[in-house]
Symmetry: C2
Subunit: 524 residues, 2 copies
């Protein structure tokens, strides 16, 4: 995720070399696999597809690729048949008179067809133009094997001959993608579901997760390409339900643990290339989710030694949070350490944040017991006080809804209070029923991250049918619009919405959207 | 040179491996030298410069280069102080927050400042866009040493940061050009002239020649980058007057000789990378100039063995030409084998072509004698007949001018008839005096190639002052407009004229313009 920029570049971070060595020791092997395109397509207007552009089988045949001479402004779109994360190479020769000028070639890599149609020159959004997957290459001599050094995330590759000369044409052959992932499809058996719609959602979720599993859990292999802690928490849960690479989760936990600020606070994300560097961005619950991720790992694969080793870092997060609780048990939020919940800033997040503290504090107490924390009562008392504040001051038992600052009843508050199990199961069900009645249909929410928590809250409240319905409406709609992998952002009411002003920098394979694989396995 | 495209790609060419091996054996060593920029400049409006754009010392200092953080759309123009042909590398790092997006960088290489200002996106000329010296590079990780693999021809390098992210800036250091040339400045002593204007013209001519001397005599190191026979003839003459690399001339002659058509005709140009390939373009006198170049080489460095070895190829060209002479001695020109003389097609070239035959036939007869040609009388008789036709049918002794088809008196006819010494020295002087009176000032001629022949004809006719005056007017004007090397095309009446519709594909270092170094040494 990324929506607003924080700049705190004067901060000093620790680098715990011992923990970084463990992160290195848990670096997974990257599995590489070669793929050839399945067909040549034309990108045509098609209202069924996202953005109104879909692929149509071209008159040109992939088996005849090397018979097509391409001159100035000619294009070919190769369709690799599914989402790919990897490197690209192609053999290029020429036909006609001798090559009396360089070949100037543009290559565009697109996860969705509409990206091919978007002109990069028109892009003027606030996110870096450098994310646009477009390369310009001059070749002075042909034949040549063009091997691009960068990794791309795509299904379609557009080859555009910017120019040859009037005397000769470029000829392409042997396009090959070498995909990269640390997820081994051979290592697990996908679920076989009776419901074909759910099966499709599950399969696309598995593909999404696999393509984000690199040498860390990346948030998106096209854009951002880094390890975010909030996303890690969800990826780890989906991972246990599928490929189950514990080493990769451990590696990511070690990376966050090794590089806190001097006061012990964990960054929202870290970079690992060319060296390990924590970002200077901080999100309130992302720091706290270090606790959740450690807790979830121990649930999936008990590892007392690891819990004890990382417990001090987990405790650091909780201690920083508890300093933000006032004498009444209320979380006093801080704009410089914002509660995230969702990209939208159109709803108040104080109550959701309060619930997230409770959610994580419960998990923290479980870890504290395992670690033999002497001061454990302090955390038990804090939990009581913070929960009590929520029940007494934030819950409207008539409406069966939690209020937040400004007398506002919003979805985030309900969802997180239910997930935190602040009230009884019976009460939680009523809350979600009231939520459905008063706050559904979901409006102005564009993140699969938030949709995940809504669906999970419905499951947790025992509203399985409603949970499945919402999952199908949301993730199923992405599939009907052409998704091979699930997206970073999607608002079903505004399918063309991009938080960046252009689909060309959207990420159409984004880890926080892969969670149906976890939800389906856990609840269905 | 290149102005119209011929496509004859069904032709079959010989590849004489023995001659190609000799071409290979004469491949010169490329001398590589490293250069750093001398300053950072801003490209500013300046009517004194070609195209109205000149360089001005920037407030940014080259010694402080690594202190400038560059964000989206920031540019830096490095001035290397003189024309360079070579590769470019630079160290790039970043400052600010961690690098949360790739660096997207555009690099533009410009021989003249106006190229920096021309937008490549606006270019829609008929010449390939691939010649525009502009690269787009994504770097996923910094610091990095960016070493571009291609060779460029330039004095100025514009670094434009297309994007970083709002959180960090790119930082540049250690830009280095490694120049490439087979001309060794240490191998000859430049002339020291009393006239500073001529000295400057001479020096820029030497630089022009040196930068075109690569592993063949290239016509232009920026654009075309190949061996043209008509240009070779002039480069070889300039070479004998300066660096005197006989091996390079021999190499080029062997290349042309090795790859004729099946009937023995020599292409106007050949390519040598990635392998030796003759172009399918033919120009009438370019084929004939194989004779001239061999003749001139023997004059500069007598080599009877070489003359005998290549004589059959030279003879092939003359025999093809003599078939184009009618029974009266008149050259019957052929649109598929055009007489060049100059780019302009606004004047008739029949008489100039007739003169070129005479010019080359005289040289051929000298070679034929050396080679022991048995049939030599046939060529002597042909020379008589063709010369006689010119004197009797084309010369107007009242006007002291040669006419050409369509009752046209043009510059090309006079210049080439004088160079061919068809009439006496006394008559030649009168012809050039009449030319000055009737056909000067030179109009609508944009090639230094044609200007060279005009100046040489003035010298040959004994009109030294007029020759020097024209040389200063033409080549001197390029210098006053900012030339570090002489240009492919220049019409003093229209300084901004480009045969390609944009300066961005003009070649501002072009071998056929280097000839003042030969003219000054020979005639002054």
């Amino acid at each position: 995720m990324a929506f607003t920029f924080q700049i705190n570049n004067s901060l000093i971070f620790k680098h715990d070399e011992k923990l970084l060595a463990k992160a290195e020791a848990n670096r997974p092997q990257i599995i590489k696999t070669q793929h050839s395109p399945v067909r040549i397509v034309d990108i045509v207007e098609d209202p069924a597809w996202l953005g109104g552009w879909g692929p149509a089988e071209s008159e040109k045949k992939i088996d005849d690729l090397s018979s097509y001479g391409c001159k100035r402004d000619d294009t070919l779109v190769l369709d690799f048949g599914d989402h790919m994360v990897g490197t690209f190479k192609i053999h290029i020769d020429q036909t006609g008179s001798p090559m009396d000028a360089p070949l100037f070639l543009r290559l565009k890599f697109a996860e969705m067809p509409e990206e091919i149609k978007a002109e990069s020159g028109d892009y003027d959004g606030w996110l870096s133009r450098s994310w646009i997957q477009e390369e310009f290459v001059h070749l002075d001599e042909l034949p040549a094997d063009l091997e691009l050094p960068r990794r791309y995330s795509f299904r379609y590759v557009e080859l555009k001959v910017v120019d040859t000369s009037p005397k000769w044409q470029a000829v392409f052959s042997d396009p090959v993608v070498t995909t990269e992932s640390s997820a081994d499809p051979a290592s697990f058996s996908p679920l076989q579901l009776e419901d074909p719609e759910l099966q499709k959602i599950y399969d696309v979720g598995v593909k999404t997760l696999a393509d984000c599993m690199q040498d860390v859990f990346e948030d998106g292999p096209k854009r951002d390409r880094r390890l975010w802690l909030g996303d890690l928490r969800l990826q780890a849960l989906a991972n246990y339900a599928t490929f189950d690479r514990t080493d990769l989760v451990k590696r990511c936990l070690y990376l966050f643990a090794a590089m806190t600020t001097e006061e012990g606070k964990i960054s929202a994300n870290v970079f690992v290339k060319p060296k390990n560097v924590p970002d200077d961005t901080f999100l309130f619950e992302y720091s706290l989710f270090f606790i959740s991720t450690l807790y979830d790992l121990h649930q999936a694969h008990p590892d007392l030694e690891l819990v004890k080793e990382l417990y001090p870092v987990a405790k650091g997060q909780m201690d920083i949070t508890l300093k933000m609780i006032d004498e009444n048990g209320k979380l006093i939020t801080d704009d410089d350490y914002p509660v995230f919940v969702d990209w939208s800033n159109d709803f108040n997040k104080d109550t959701a944040g309060q619930a997230e503290v409770i959610y994580c504090l419960k998990q923290f107490i479980a870890l504290a017991k395992l670690a033999g924390e002497k001061d454990i009562n302090r955390y038990g008392e804090a939990l009581k006080k913070i929960s009590l504040y929520a029940k007494d001051n934030l819950y409207n038992s008539e409406k069966k809804l939690f209020v937040t600052t400004g007398d506002e009843y919003n979805l985030g508050s309900q969802v997180w209070m239910v997930l935190a199990h602040v009230l009884s199961d019976e009460e939680n069900k009523k809350i979600m029923q009231s939520t459905i009645k008063n706050l559904f249909p979901v409006k102005n929410i564009a993140t699969p991250y938030m949709y995940h928590h809504i669906v999970e809250a419905l499951f947790e409240a025992g509203l399985k049918d409603e949970a499945v319905r919402l999952m199908k409406e949301y993730w199923g709609k992405m599939i009907s619009l052409g998704a091979d992998t699930f997206w970073e952002a999607f608002d079903p009411d505004r399918p063309g919405y991009s938080p960046y002003g252009s689909p060309i920098v959207n990420s159409y394979c984004h880890a926080w959207s892969c969670t149906p694989v976890y939800l389906i396995k856990k609840y269905l």
